[in-house]
């Protein structure tokens, strides 16, 4: 039967926001003019039904005649103009298809075999030339990795293929060169590792199957195996413990009383209140997001949510966070390396991906940041975090037992994300987009949401022995890890597939999203399946855990994989890696000479700092995230009189009606890591905890999560990484705050065809989370009343200005970066916490990018109050305003309050008062330097992201 087509659009005269948005982008993002109108329509296609049934669908489901019109098997009326239809490529799962089939069934329509949907754009006006349309398609409408322009009506919507045979890979006779040829672009293993694989099969006396080779490559990938972090390092000729061991040891040594699970499960777990625990995990999704930002960001969020869901015997996700690093959105197109996408596009698509996944899952995204630096132009850093809550009694990692069943829950398996784990471990080149496009897919948040509903129900009934996410490496990774100490027997023919034609190794390695694997005692199986049916979740017994410590996988009668677990998990040759780092002397730059301060155009500088990309308001991003769902927000990302002033951290009350809270914050500063990775990393950690403490959190009840996103670990980058790890370890020992989860992604180097190498500025993102006994004893950042004292608390060396926004504005980086004093920091944090707890703090904001000037301005915006500030004696106005030393706080205390009584011996100084006049006035040596109107500062601060997002 022919394919039925239904086109739906809004009635003439009614707004078409998607079309208007595109029209705006044509002008603002591409600089194209001469378009009068862009309109959009949805196109639906159905296979297996007749025209009458299609009409029924159009009337009852697809088009609402209150505001829409439709056509069947023909164009819409008045379709003059240039039409472009954009659809997902065949095989890229369109989540809407399942809903179309479900609704058709509910409507009693029989015979429907397949359904699809796509979008049709109509461009009108003299600008709609073939050349312009080609540009629009390329830059705005189609990401060729997952989408295509539909030229002709398809003949069928059903994807099928015949299954590939199991191949044997003859590696036993391969020489080293042949081994490396096999590894390149596919396995990403080095020669020593390839030799270990060859030896295993030589000893076994047979050649490996394709599935076995792929399983080993996945298990041993940098992404899954963290080879660099486990390697013995030789730094400048001196041997050092592996980095992971150092981080873990520091955590063990501080022996934090609230830590329940560190580095062993899918997330780190700490004690909460009322018999509950909270857990946190932060992931990166840089490689997929670089080539398909919307799908990459979606699957990044989906993956990190599953990490939380797969903690202990299952946790409920309560928060999502997002931290991004891009090149500036105004970067010229010719400066973007070949094979890379423009940051303006990346930023908007990544935000859309995080939004669509988090919002649809009902998880508030309420903490995040965006950083810009030109050297992210080849590869962005996309960091997504998630936090959860679960009962203490089931918060520890479960262990499958022999005889337990391996049950796969959730989505079906397709050819999605093949080679995701190995791909994200490789460097990026201009070939990346072509060779690895199958590594990206579009997430289906609703599939994950119902799986989460079912999982929590099963967990509450105690049906789950162990659970893990099917992420990188698919079944291979999930079952291989769960059964490491037992053994696994898997039957691949049982796996529910999206379409036929997958090779066995593809089924085994597929990274199709929204799947989890449970270990379930046989007596609990029936009840589990019943729960899953109730939530429309597919559940299949795919495997059984054994006692033979072998990984045996079959497909029908074929043996696909038969490996020794010991070899698979412990056979990876331990790496010994050399690192080299020459510490630049951290010397004073000596530029802040006593300039003629009165002659400087302070207002212009202030506005430039406020509109710097790393300082400016990110409100247009925050607004598209549902940061209020779950009704748990006790300190939102934005607050104050206009609802547009930022807070330092988010505080959530995950137990409805209870005042106990979870605080979440983070810190990172790639620019400082470029100057000195040790102090840059200390800055990141201190910024994360300062953000939490600024709201009143107790520094003794915080845990940390690390994310190292680094260039490929050549000797120099590895030297920098080693220093960053040292900084983390020193931070843990000085503050007592442990890292309990972490992740490294060491592939952010781009190699061009001309041999040009582009490394990102190294990123250490530290996330902090903790518990707050009573959210009523926390503060926001907005000034509360006029006449209050403004106090600067914390130790800073005013001349340490390198890497600051101010220096960037001056066009330089400098060498004298802020060197955090680890001895003083804990005392300052305690003092600020104590002051908030005693109710003596009206408002508090920590100092970060943009310095005190930005912090005070933001507090003014929130309070609709001005500030009169006096430059601290001994500091130049530039230093006073723009120094970015971390661990310092701007605190509002009552006019009559006594700073000495409140802050005691830690460094503090009174710097001014809040005033009713709507400006920030700064006085230096008893003279007014300038008075900056809040409205001007705020406009400057809000402008950059408004322009990018068209708000």
């Amino acid at each position: 039967m022919a394919i039925q087509e239904v086109r739906v659009t809004n009635k003439p005269g009614l707004p078409d926001p998607a079309g208007n948005g595109l029209l705006y982008d044509l002008h603002h993002a591409l600089g194209l003019d001469g378009f009068e109108k862009v309109s959009t329509a949805k196109v639906y296609r159905f296979e297996g039904i007749d025209e009458g049934q299609a009409r029924l669908l159009a009337e009852r489901l697809l088009a609402e005649d209150v505001f829409q019109i439709y056509s069947i098997n023909g164009p819409l009326p008045d379709n003059t103009g240039v039409l472009v239809e954009v659809a997902y490529k065949p095989g890229v799962m369109n989540p809407e298809a399942a809903s179309l089939i479900k609704a058709a069934l509910d409507l009693g329509i029989e015979g429907l075999l397949a359904a699809e949907s796509s979008r049709e754009y109509t461009f009108r006006g003299p600008g709609a030339t073939a050349e312009n349309i080609a540009l629009i398609v390329d830059k705005l409408l189609v990401n060729a990795t997952v989408e295509r322009v539909v030229i002709a009506k398809p003949e069928t919507l059903i994807i099928k293929g015949s299954i590939g045979s199991i191949k044997t890979i003859p590696i036993n006779q391969m020489n080293d060169q042949q081994l490396m040829e096999l590894s390149r672009d596919k396995l990403f293993l080095n020669l020593e590792e390839m030799r270990a694989v060859r030896k295993y099969f030589l000893d076994t006396g047979r050649e490996p199957t394709d599935c076995e080779i792929e399983t080993i490559a996945q298990t041993w990938s940098e992404h899954c195996g963290h080879k660099t972090f486990r390697a013995t390092l030789v730094v400048n000729g001196k041997e050092k413990e592996p980095m992971l061991a150092r981080l873990k040891k520091a955590t063990e040594d501080v022996n934090h009383p609230l830590v329940l699970s560190a580095f062993v499960d899918n997330s780190g777990v700490m004690e909460f209140y009322r018999g509950q625990a909270i857990c946190g995990k932060v992931e990166t999704h840089n490689s997929p997001s670089a080539i398909e930002p919307y799908g990459g960001a979606m699957t990044g969020s989906g993956g990190v949510f599953r990490d939380i869901m797969g903690t202990g015997a299952g946790a409920r996700v309560i928060a999502s966070t997002d931290m991004f690093c891009f090149a500036p959105p105004e970067t010229l197109a010719e400066n973007i390396p070949a094979g890379c996408l423009h940051p303006h596009y990346l930023l908007r698509q990544v935000v859309a991906g995080v939004k669509d996944y988090g919002n649809r899952m009902g998880i508030p995204t309420n903490n995040g940041s965006v950083h810009f630096h030109k050297d992210f132009r080849a590869k962005p850093s996309i960091i997504v975090g998630a936090y959860g809550i679960l009962p203490v009694e089931s918060c520890r990692k479960g262990q499958a037992r022999p005889g337990d069943l391996g049950v796969v829950l959730g989505g079906r398996t397709g050819r999605d994300g093949i080679h995701g784990a190995t791909f994200s471990s490789g460097e990026m080149t201009h070939r990346t987009v072509d060779v690895n496009s199958s590594a990206v897919q579009i997430g289906n948040a609703i599939e994950e949401k119902r799986m989460s509903d079912a999982l929590l129900a099963a967990s509450a009934e105690g049906l789950i022995r162990a659970v893990t996410d099917c992420g990188a490496g698919g079944f291979s990774s999930a079952l291989g890890e769960m059964g490491e100490n037992t053994g696994v027997r898997a039957w691949l023919e049982r796996a529910p597939l999206k379409y036929s034609g997958l090779s066995t190794w593809e089924i085994w390695l597929s990274e199709s999203q929204e799947r989890m694997v449970l270990a379930v005692a046989p007596e609990n199986l029936e009840r589990l399946l019943e729960i899953c049916r109730g939530y429309n979740v597919e559940a299949t017994v795919l495997a059984e855990f054994t006692a033979d410590r072998r990984l045996r996988v079959t497909h029908g009668d074929d043996i696909v994989c038969d490996l020794d677990m010991e070899f698979l998990h412990n056979g990876l040759p331990k790496r010994r890696m050399t690192a080299r780092w020459e510490r630049k002397p951290v010397c004073p730059d000596g530029v802040e000479k006593e300039s003629n301060s009165l002659a400087i155009d302070w207002l212009n500088i202030y506005k430039s700092i406020m509109s710097h990309l790393n300082v400016c308001s990110k409100e247009p991003i925050i607004r598209v995230y549902d940061h209020g769902v779950q009704g748990s927000c006790a300190l939102p990302p934005l607050g104050g009189e206009g609802g547009d002033a930022p807070n330092d951290a988010v505080i959530l009350t995950p137990l409805p009606g209870e005042a106990c809270g979870v605080v979440i914050s983070h810190g990172l500063n790639p620019v400082l890591n470029n100057i000195d990775p040790y102090y840059g990393s200390l800055w990141a950690a201190a910024e994360a905890v300062s953000n939490a403490v600024a709201t009143g959190a107790n520094p003794e009840e915080l845990c940390l999560i690390d994310n190292f996103i680094w260039p490929f670990p050549d000797e120099e980058s590895l030297g920098a990484l080693d220093l960053a790890v040292d900084a983390c370890v020193d931070f843990v020992r000085a503050t007592g705050m442990p890292f309990i989860s972490g992740k490294d992604s060491l592939s952010s180097t781009y190699r061009g065809t001309d041999g040009a190498v582009l490394k990102i500025p190294p990123v250490l993102c530290v996330s902090a989370f903790g518990r707050v006994p009573d959210v009523n004893l926390t503060v926001s950042a907005d000034f509360k009343k006029q006449g209050s004292k403004i106090v600067l608390v914390g130790k800073r060396n005013p001349s340490e200005m390198a890497g600051s926004t101010y220096y960037d504005w001056l066009g330089r980086e400098g060498g004298n970066l802020p060197c955090l004093d680890l001895a003083t920091l804990p005392l300052v944090l305690k003092a600020v916490h104590r002051a908030v707890r005693r109710g003596l703090v009206l408002a508090c904001h920590d100092i970060s990018e943009g310095g005190l000037a930005a912090a005070v301005a933001e507090m003014c915006f929130g309070g609709r109050l001005g500030a009169a500030l006096n430059v601290v004696p001994g500091e130049s106005p530039e230093q006073f305003l723009f120094n970015e030393t971390v661990g310092c706080f701007v605190v509002e205390i009552d006019a009559g309050a006594d700073g000495a009584e409140i802050f005691g011996v830690v460094p503090w100084v009174e710097i001014g008062t809040t005033v009713p006049e709507q400006q920030v006035a700064v006085y230096y040596k008893d003279q007014q330097l300038f008075g900056a109107e809040l409205v001007e500062l705020k406009d400057a601060w809000q402008k950059p992201m408004k322009e990018v997002f068209g708000a």
């Binding site: 926001p17 609704a103 409507l107 939530y535 549902d626 209020g628 009704g631 409805p656 009606g657």
Partner: protein, 258 residues
């Protein structure tokens, strides 16, 4: 007696927990009911005195927001729904639940299958989450008793919330006082201006009821302001009870007297 409240959920419902909590705090005896349980007969709407359709993205908001659930309800559970409203029991749809109610036809005229109002994509073309002010209109709505002419502070979080209908229906809704909430400025005046009116709704309409006042739907989320600390500026001082709580208390006290 605590009136039994059915919090109806399905794939993609995600404001169910907080809606459950809001009704529970208001004195309801809440139960989470999956639409599958109604379909299988394991649960019956008639066991409940209040029906709540929470926010979220039912079935991914595919095709239109709330549409696939609306089709499911009107195709397979029509009689139960009809009986429920004919028995004079309150029905509340919040955000996605409101979208479902207009797409079943229960709003504005309690005619299942007759869709004459809709919620289009926001004028901004974007999903948006922000706190707005609502003016409570004088209406027969049982959920807003005692709130008339007050201005309340409340959060919206949606991408498809632009209330739209033809001029005749609009007139009818207005003249029979079925408009329950309007987006308003800080001074309490209904407004068409963004962002106070976050989506471009006709006549600034944020929520409506049927002629009896027993079926109500609104885009904003009253369940997100039933505790003081849920307001973004509770530290700056917010007077009185959390503004969303009365909606649930009114429903529960009405059901108690039924």
């Amino acid at each position: 007696m605590k009136p039994p409240v059915c919090v109806l959920r399905t794939d993609g419902t995600n404001c169910d927990e907080e809606t459950f909590y809001a009704f529970a705090k208001a004195g309801g005896d809440c139960r989470m009911v999956h639409v599958n349980q109604l379909r299988s007969g394991e649960e019956k709407l008639s066991s409940y005195h209040i029906l709540a359709l929470p926010g979220g993205f039912s079935y991914g908001d595919d095709v239109h927001s709330g549409k696939v659930l609306a089709v499911e309800l009107t195709s397979l559970l029509k009689e139960q729904l009809q009986e429920f409203v004919e028995a004079g029991k309150p029905v509340l749809g919040i955000c996605n639940g409101f979208q479902v109610l207009v797409r079943t036809g229960l709003l504005p005229e309690r005619k299942i299958g007759t869709i004459n109002t809709t919620l289009m994509h926001n004028d901004s073309g974007k999903f948006e989450c922000r706190w707005v002010n609502l003016l409570v209109e004088d209406s027969p709505c049982i959920f807003t008793r005692g709130m008339t002419e007050k201005t309340i502070s409340i959060q919206v979080a949606h991408g498809e919330g632009r209330f739209y209908t033809d001029p005749e229906t609009l007139n009818r809704i207005e003249s029979s006082r079925q408009v329950v909430f309007r987006y308003c400025d800080a001074g309490g005046k209904a407004t068409a201006l963004y962002p106070a009116n976050p989506n471009g709704s006709l006549n600034a309409i944020a929520g409506i009821c049927d002629e009896t006042g027993l079926v109500m739907g609104l885009m904003p989320h009253p369940e997100r302001f039933v505790e003081k600390t849920q307001h973004p500026n509770w530290r700056r001082g917010i007077e009185g009870d959390p503004h969303g709580l009365a909606v649930f208390q009114n429903a529960v006290s009405y059901a108690r007297e039924m």
